[in-house]
Amino acid sequence: MLHTKNKTQLPLMGILDIQNTPCARNSILHGAGGSIVAGLVHFLVTSRVKRSFDVGVTGFMLTTLGSWFYCRYNNAKLRVQQRVIQEGIKNKVIYEGTNLDPTRKTKGDA
């Protein structure tokens, strides 16, 4: 029986599929939080409503971008590590018992 994954796709603003894009959901949530904090703090300090909204939107964009790049950079590092580990496992199996086996203990004779 063929099972298809039920991927509910509701792109944000018709563009960004948050649920299936890595890091997207967290970035948007961080952005929303940053936006609220920035706008609120600005309003509490200056009591200017419109400017606070502007600051909030700017905060949203900067926080989203920052969180996005940070998460994507970490994911990229993990992917590189994963590839190195995979190569290492593959090579270990291939080279087991030969001179190139990295786990082979050298016995002192050249």
């Binding site: 796709q9 792109p11 997207a24 964009m61 971008l65």
Partner: protein, 230 residues
């Protein structure tokens, strides 16, 4: 394969397609933020009561809306160029397959060691078994060994066709009288579907491509069987 009402790309089955997916996510996030900003500016412009009849210039905002788009474009261009050059890297293929487009089927030739060739016709809807995919299944699949660089030489016998497999990140035009080359590595075993991507007549929608990626020993068994049947 694609699932019903799918909007995004299919899951990647090759390293190049993985990179393309990541770049797409990156570009899409930037586009989303720009759209949010533009939407906010529109709402602000429409709802403001402020007017100023005496603005002549404003150096600051002009600098901002010149420098910021330039920075955004650089942020998009650098990963894009990286992938472009990555896709053109010289690799050492383990296997070369010729894919020839006909009206309206594909034929594949494996001529590295023996002369193996076969045609790949779509299975008509009425002949499908339960669980098979409509308009996507073929009678013979192009079988390849997994995790090996594969070179595909694409051409056509009659009119323009295009050999495309989205999950492998591959699309290459099949031009009569011309040999086009593309290469890929299937990272995992599986069955990957594609369809002819250049209008080629009445049955253009009915000449799919099916690539089956298997471990090397299975590929060797398959090719021996195919040669025996030929």
């Amino acid at each position: 394969m694609a699932h019903p009402s799918q909007l995004g790309f299919q899951d990647a089955a090759s390293p190049v397609m993985e990179e393309l997916l990541h770049f797409h996510d990156h570009a899409l996030m930037i586009v989303f933020l720009i759209s949010t900003l533009v939407l906010y500016i529109i709402i602000a412009m429409v709802s403001t009561k402020l007017t100023n009849k005496y603005i002549l210039d404003s150096q600051e905002i002009e600098i901002v809306w010149t420098v910021l788009p330039a920075v955004i474009l650089i942020l998009i261009a650098l990963p894009s160029l990286r992938i472009l050059y990555l896709m053109d890297e010289i690799n050492d293929p383990h296997l070369t397959i010729k894919a020839m487009g006909h009206q309206w089927y594909w034929s594949y030739e494996y001529t590295d060691y023996e002369n193996l060739g076969f045609d790949s016709y779509m299975i008509p809807t009425q002949d499908l078994n339960p669980g098979q995919f409509r308009l996507l299944e073929t009678d013979h699949r192009m079988v390849i060994p997994m995790e090996s660089p594969i070179r595909v030489l694409v051409s056509a016998e009659d009119v323009l066709h295009s050999w495309a497999v989205p999950s492998l990140g591959v699309k290459m035009d099949a031009v009569p009288g011309r040999l086009n080359q593309t290469a890929f590595i299937a990272s995992r075993p599986g069955v990957f579907y594609g369809q002819c991507s250049e209008i080629c007549g009445a049955n253009h929608s009915f000449m799919p491509i099916v690539v089956e990626s298997v471990p090397l020993e299975h590929f060797e068994n398959w090719s021996s069987l195919m040669l025996k049947d030929a």
